[in-house]
């Protein structure tokens, strides 16, 4: 079984090397093939874990002396998230095949630079898989930094002043934050004499607190939480499929994932971490909501929506410190569901940009009439992200709130914060519904009326994701139970 886990991690890396040396005309097909194979491997891991009663296991792989440098952990969480990250990676690779073309009105693609795109994207997918499956702190750290490096190459892909600046901003912010993880990992190594996460539970509370502060700083940076959030809206200068993958599905999830993984390994965690986490999450959530309103650019709106959705996840993870397992499961399910819902939303934004050449919301009217598929996907994505039943976002948000009430039994003050979070969810629903109602139904605006058709591979990715956003609804919750 570990062979399949490893294949899921290594195939994308292999693909990224192949992309560099194979003839240019093979690049697209190779990328699609390796990510498809990697996806099959991780789905098989998920399936067989489900068949064997979801009993997790670890396997140490890389040693230095008798110190384990890297190993894989396969449990409910890593198998679930690993498969969704790679599955989404595959869909993004397929979608990019159609998106990066001379027909793209948002960014006309001239031939000749796609090697770099696929190299960084495939390395990124591999690094994400490696991160999720890691059973050691060093693995978390190394892949965490590797995703940052790749994100630089991807955000700066368009090679103009604006995107290069955004790319530099993104990498410097996330790497600055990752100093926290670096120090925490080094301290972990010094204190436990190794890197295995299982040793986390043996540390005493003071040390755990300091380590978690380091981890939280890294996680906040990567997941664009206050006060390290400012790189994400600018990073929308990336090609839209990249935004879908990095800024909705995977990279921003790397932050919450390391937090979740360390919480899980640490056993009991000092409540002060929970307090800090909950407060920062609520602050970020409200900041994100306020920033919805002035946004004219479709993608920037989605970026702020990502920031608030990630603070839900932080909120839930921090609640779990107060003893709510429900909140923890809700957080993991929300990572899963938000990846699909928000990823779909970004791909819709990409499709709109591709065919109309604009991403400005005031110019987008009557999408449904001109582009029924995109219009429907827009609706699905909006409903999934805001958490309307029966779309997937509902199940995880509901669980998070249930977890919040559960935790509030132990700490009554939390009730206020849970209520604030619920108010936020209503606010964001109202706003996204307004955006939806002004752009999707009704008569087409001039830009939309002149829209071209989107590429078949883009349609393929949109349809699959829309189906998943609808059908996967309770899958994640049921799986985690």
């Amino acid at each position: 079984m570990v062979t399949f886990v490893l294949a899921g991690i290594l195939l994308p890396f292999l693909g990224s090397l192949l992309v560099l040396i194979l003839p240019r005309s093979w690049v697209k097909a190779t990328s699609q093939l390796v990510t498809f194979a990697a996806m099959l491997c991780t789905l098989f891991v998920l399936y067989s874990l489900g068949m064997t009663g979801k009993v997790g296991y670890t396997q140490d792989l890389l040693f230095f002396g008798d110190i384990v440098l890297y190993g894989v952990i396969v449990d409910k969480i890593s198998a679930l998230l690993g498969s969704v990250f790679i599955l989404f990676g595959f869909l993004v690779v397929v979608y990019s095949g159609g998106y990066l073309s001379e027909k793209n009105r948002d960014h006309v693609e001239h031939n000749g630079v796609q090697r770099r795109y696929y190299f960084f994207l495939l390395t990124f997918i591999g690094a994400m898989a490696g991160l999720v499956m890691s059973s050691t702190m060093l693995g978390l750290l190394a892949f965490f930094e590797l995703t940052g490096v790749c994100s630089w190459g991807l955000i700066g892909y368009y090679n103009d002043e604006k995107s290069l600046k955004a790319a530099l901003k993104a990498i410097v912010t996330t790497e600055l934050a990752s100093v926290g993880l670096f120090i925490a990992t080094a301290a972990f190594f010094v204190l436990t004499g190794g890197f295995q996460l299982s040793a986390f539970a043996t540390l005493d509370d003071t040390i755990k607190t300091w380590l978690f502060i380091g981890i939280l700083i890294a996680a906040w940076g990567k997941s664009a939480q206050l006060p390290l959030h400012f790189w994400l809206p600018d990073a929308m200068a990336a090609p839209t499929p990249i935004s879908a993958y990095l800024h909705a599905a995977s990279m921003v999830k790397a932050g919450v994932y390391i937090f979740a993984r360390c919480l899980l390994s640490a056993g009991t965690v000092p409540q002060v971490i929970g307090v800090v986490g909950v407060i920062m999450a609520i602050v970020t959530m409200f900041y994100g909501l306020l920033m919805y309103f002035p946004q004219k650019d479709f993608k920037r709106l989605l970026a702020y929506s990502t920031i608030t959705q990630l603070s839900y996840i932080f909120f839930a993870l921090s609640l779990s410190i107060f003893g709510s397992a429900t909140a923890f499961n809700g957080a993991i399910a929300h990572v899963f569901n938000h990846a699909l819902g928000k990823g779909l939303f970004f791909l819709v934004a990409g499709a709109v940009g591709f065919s109309t050449g604009t991403r400005l919301l005031p110019n987008l009217k009557g999408l449904l009439k001109k582009m029924p598929l995109v219009g429907i996907c827009f609706a699905v994505a909006a409903l999934a992200v805001t958490g309307v039943p029966p779309f997937n976002g509902f199940f995880s948000k509901f669980t998070i709130f249930a977890g919040g009430f559960e935790a509030a039994k132990n700490a009554p003050l939390l009730m206020i914060l849970v209520v604030i979070a619920i108010l936020e969810t209503i606010g964001s629903f109202a706003w996204l519904f307004w955006v939806f109602s002004s752009s999707v139904p009704g008569d087409s605006s001039a830009e939309v009326a002149a829209a071209s058709d989107i590429a078949p591979s883009m349609k393929f990715a949109l349809v699959i994701l829309a189906c998943l956003a609808l059908l996967s609804g309770f899958f994640a919750m049921a799986w985690l139970k």
Binding site: F63, F64, L138, G153, L168, V172, A187, V190
Partner: protein
Amino acid sequence: MESPHLIWLLFVPLIASVLSLIVHWFGDFTRPILEFLHLASVTATLVLTFIVAGQVLDAGEALAFSDWLRVDSLGALFVVIVGVMGFLSGIYSIGFTRHELAVGYTNHDIAIGGLDMGRLRVFYSLFHFFLFTMLLAVTSNNIIIMWVAIEATTLSSAFLVGLYGTRPALEAAWKYVVICTVGVAFGLYGTILVYSDAVNLIQETSKASLWTEIVKNASTLDPTLLKLAFVFILIGFGTKAGIVPMHSWLPDTYSEAPSPVSALLSGVLVNCTLFVIIRFSIIVNLALGTSFAQILFLVFGVISLAAAVFFMMGQKDINRLLAYSSPENIGLILIALGLGGPIGILAGLLQLVNHSIVKTMMFFLSGNILMKYRSRSLDVVKGLMQAAPLTSFFLLAGVFALVGAPPFNIFFSKFLIVSAGIATGYWWLMIVCMLLLMLAFTALFRMGSSVTLGQKPVEIQNGESGFTTLAPIAILMVLALVLGLFMPAQLTDLLNGAVEVVNAGVTATPLAGPNGSASVAGPLGGLSVESFFSFFSGH
């Protein structure tokens, strides 16, 4: 054991140096003969360094000239660095000088000149003499000869720095000679203080200058005199190593010298001077305990690191940026040595090896850029990805390696340094260092993105720079990756031995620092270098 190879290791480059100067006496085929001689010499030197290192691994040390030359594990590590980097710079030089010959020497006050046949002979001759002096510095057991060798490296490399004969190059060479000679004069004073003290004890003048003899009698040396001497040595040789605030010659020199020379200066020569400082620090540790040298290392390390990263910010010249990255890394190495203990020393030596590999590669790359654009300015050099995709790929990977991104080697040595710092209770210093390194990270990334991306100037032709200037880069890139993912057993043995040499006679428990109580030190307190490497040495 007595090693004739050690003698040959010194003589081969010396002979090549002399022959290169007189090669035009033998007919009109100067360039082919020069290149053949050059290749033969660097290859022979490489082979001999491996043989000597092998002897050290087998017998513990290699001796020659009645103990005046002695290579132990620490020396062997540096000998191998000189050999490998010398060989790769040698290969690179061939492609580079051919290109510069084609440009031609013009005695104008232009920014970047070319070469003619006479200067080519001087280049090759001094290249080998430079190699010889560096090898002498790291193989010498006689502290006076050590000083002589370091002084000789200044003289030989100064003419290499000024080779282009342009105004900035000559100015850089002049600055280099003046500042480094003054600096190394302080080193001489320190050396003589140690020697004169040793003569009092050992009575036998010929033996009193031998490092091995001084180490044997270290505990009886005069502590005050030794303290004074070490400060002089650190300042003196530190000037040559580019430790801030004695670094002012460094950016000019590294940026004006021909690229293969910059690579040797930054990737190898710096290590040789650090080697001398480490040798003296061993004596000081034995005589005074570890804290004296460690505090000095820490202070100068932090100053170097902090100053260098600020100089790197906003730097518009690629070579100057890379040049300032040297004191940054030297600072890190000194900090690691200052943290001490087996893990700290190991981390320092590993960082030294890794920096040498990556920095040499970066200067080769800047040479390739220079050949293509005839400029080092970030305002001119743009769009390398269009102009030369392979060079551009290497440059990006090199930037990733230099900032210590995984899976490159520097990531692991940096990690070890931070671990050593936390283990010795200097966790706050490590946070400061990491934040300072972020500034260097930003500066290097800005350089990488500015050079590779963007629109290339229209007059620049597309095309790579040729096999001899790309192959050494590829080899170094592979080394940077391999040492990141897997260490060869021979290198770990050498490092292992070198750590023992540096840590010699230190009886204090490893990794016990200001806060090194049992509760904080944790299980790593029992971790020794041996157990760290036991997997590779097979027990």
